[in-house]
Assembly symmetry: C2
Homo-oligomer: 439 residues x 2
């Protein structure tokens, strides 16, 4: 919808006439998938609160939006979209913004293919509504998957008073450094969550079509519900017959959003480029919004481009006395390749001056290249105000600044919100000092 609206805006400026048709498989438009855990937790009151714009509002803006229209195949030669149970829709240009679907292993289904009762992802508003209705205090839930959605659904379930077990293949938040992910695992255990790392659900015990327990390799965990949060796969079946898909099944649009003449794509069905030019699959709403906007502008004759990503991400685990924000930006350790020689330091400090009631612990991990001194990545975990601190580091990365820039630049200080030497800068300085050390 970002692309569609931007097309119309730009078309007004460029004087083009565009007829914009949107085919949406579901009934909802422009909803915040990221908000689903907060609806489940009860922090958000109404499903409708998550809907930024209704189909009616989009139509009022001049978009021919058709809901309940699932496109099964794009015929790029005939220039038509084939719609499930409906007529083909012809196009001159097509934008693929089909997003991604939750990864659903075999064990989530009964032998007849129907979903096991009590087992569901947290992906759509329909899922959100079901979880909000079904999770009852005192019940047991297993969350399968320790990524963002897993962590956020654990938070939601604990807030609702359930007994929660998190099962994750590697570590909690494994895209973060171990020191950072460990903070979240610790916080979860503090509020009574059973955290099972380096384990995976291999099968379910099912009674009367409903889950009774999850089986791990070495034991069973009795449960009333299973949240499936095992990541997503790009929803690109409609182009499976073409040569446009990568090995991972993604589209790889250029910075204008183009994948082929007259074929455009943006969002979770696509990979994005890092600022260093590498392709990465980072299905996040922020990238989707930006890429969609640039693409919409281009379709209508504008020149906006999507300039790529850094790998910035943030989440929170907050229940009762525990309030942890975790965030990261920059290259992942396993992506570092010679000649880059990372120097990495983990620093602990506080989010506010130590004497203030606002002061909460914060852990910061800074990595920079020994030779060029270029900043490589920053991760943080800590109390309120910790997470968005990565934005300053992201800006340094965006502009290819050094660890010295981060250490010495002029950041904001007042006792309720920072220390006189901002902890982010102490952390950067320590890396700089380590680089400077002879030998």
């Amino acid at each position: 919808m970002s692309a569609a609206h931007q097309m119309l805006r730009t078309a007004r400026r460029t004087g083009r006439t565009l007829e914009v048709t949107v085919l949406e498989a579901g009934q909802f438009t422009s909803y915040s998938a990221c908000g689903i855990p907060y609806l489940v937790s009860g922090e958000v009151d109404e499903l409708d609160d998550l809907v930024a714009r209704t189909p009616e509002q989009h139509r009022a803006a001049g978009i021919d939006l058709r809901t309940g229209q699932r496109v099964t195949r794009l015929d790029l030669d005939a220039r038509v979209a084939e719609v499930e149970g409906g007529d083909d829709v012809a196009f001159d240009q097509v934008v693929v913004a089909t997003g991604a679907c939750p990864r659903m292993p075999q064990w989530t289904r009964l032998p007849d293919g129907a979903p096991v009762g009590g087992v569901r992802p947290a992906s759509t508003l329909e899922d959100a509504r079901a979880w909000a209705q079904e999770l009852a205090p005192g019940e047991r839930v297993v969350v399968a998957g320790g990524g963002y959605i897993g962590v956020e659904m654990v938070e939601a379930a604990v807030r609702r008073g359930l007994q929660v077990t998190l099962v994750t293949r590697s570590r909690v938040l494994s895209t973060f450094a171990p020191e950072v992910g460990a903070e979240v695992a610790r916080g979860m255990r503090e509020v009574g969550v059973e955290v099972v790392e380096h384990a995976a659900v291999t099968d379910l015990e099912v009674e009367d079509g409903r889950v009774a327990a999850v089986r791990l390799r070495e034991r069973s965990v009795p449960t009333d519900h299973v949240v499936v949060a095992l990541g997503v796969v790009p929803a690109t079946d409609l182009l499976a017959h073409t040569d446009l898909l990568s090995e991972r099944g993604t589209l790889r649009p250029d910075e204008t959003g183009r994948v082929a003449p007259g074929v455009w794509a943006a969002g979770d069905c696509c990979e994005v480029r890092t600022r260093d030019g590498a392709w990465t699959y980072a299905p996040l709403g922020t990238h989707a919004n930006k890429a969609g906007r640039a693409l919409g502008d281009q379709v209508a004759g504008g020149d906006l481009t999507f300039p790529g990503v850094l790998g910035t991400a943030i989440t929170r685990f907050a229940v009762g006395e525990v309030h942890l924000e975790v965030a990261r930006t920059g290259i992942l350790d396993h992506q570092v390749a010679a000649p880059v020689d990372p120097v990495t330091v983990v620093t602990r400090g506080t989010t506010a001056s130590g004497y203030m009631p606002e002061a909460a612990p914060i852990t910061i991990r800074v990595s920079a290249d020994r030779v060029s001194r270029r900043l490589l990545s920053v991760e943080v975990a800590g109390g309120p105000g910790a997470g968005k601190r990565v934005d300053a580091a992201a800006a340094v990365l965006w502009l290819r600044g050094s660890v010295d820039d981060l250490a010495w630049m002029d950041l904001a200080y007042a006792p309720p919100v920072a220390t006189a030497w901002e902890v982010l800068q102490i952390a950067a300085r320590r890396v700089a000092e380590l680089i400077d050390q002879p030998g």
Copy 2:
């Protein structure tokens, strides 16, 4: 003390032998002057909490620290510091880190020169202790001055249950844009503070040596106390006989901290350079700490330099239901000179996704140059998490980035801490769009 410690650290590395003597006029060292309002408010329990390092701790680190030693004059020919009521102290090199003193108008003193009772700045720990002891619920206090300290002392006094009047020559937080300062004035009024802008205290009514009322041009305001928060003047009398002082009475050290051969200076007695090379008086602890550290390194043979400032600042006004953070970074409007042609937009949004309980209003003002598109300044006012958002903008300014960098870079999003289009980026995008508009 930053300089002194860094000298010793660097000397260990460079193999130099330094004898470091510190002459301190008072009894306290390394205390957080910025923390004083929070001691007065009661948020900080003990005076000692504001002391980061005691004299004993400094001495244990190998510094010959002498308290109660006021240097009245530096004889740069004889290389001695003249100490009030004591012996001269000889030096090879001298560091001037005397800071600044509160501006105290004539009306703060009785005809015999003694201070009027109940009238005092909020500058030293002795002031802090006096205010913490004397301000009693139900009493009246006038805060003279609408800068950071004024705003913070208003907050402290309201929290203690006093009736507060703020009197300021121009606007509340006049170094901020009107839209931003006005938010704070509004917040103050909301909690019952009388805010008198465009007015100044011309005199006091004194009874038995104690303040009874302040006189403004057109009326009197009865009061029990007056907080003098009218800014500071550099404490450079000890060099008044030299040609080292600027017209403003400041020192102007180069980026190594040097002002003359063997004479160094850092902190609130100095001006600092902006990143664009202009001198500015910005007496803030962050600059003092950084400049002191660079200077200490240089004195001992290192090569750290103080790379200048952006004009970043932050404060907070939080009482009861009102929680406002205000922050800024970048060039001030009146400093903009041709050929720079600023395009400025004020944008309103929320600190978190609108459906989250954390969402609070935020106002962002972004200014960029029409031709180069370079970011010029960013100011924010808003709820929890608003203030430190300027750090990301400060990083862009530090690296001379454009308004497009700010608009499109990869910042952190999750519903409890941001909107999917981060409000800082919406604000930047609107400036970019305004620049792009033909005509």
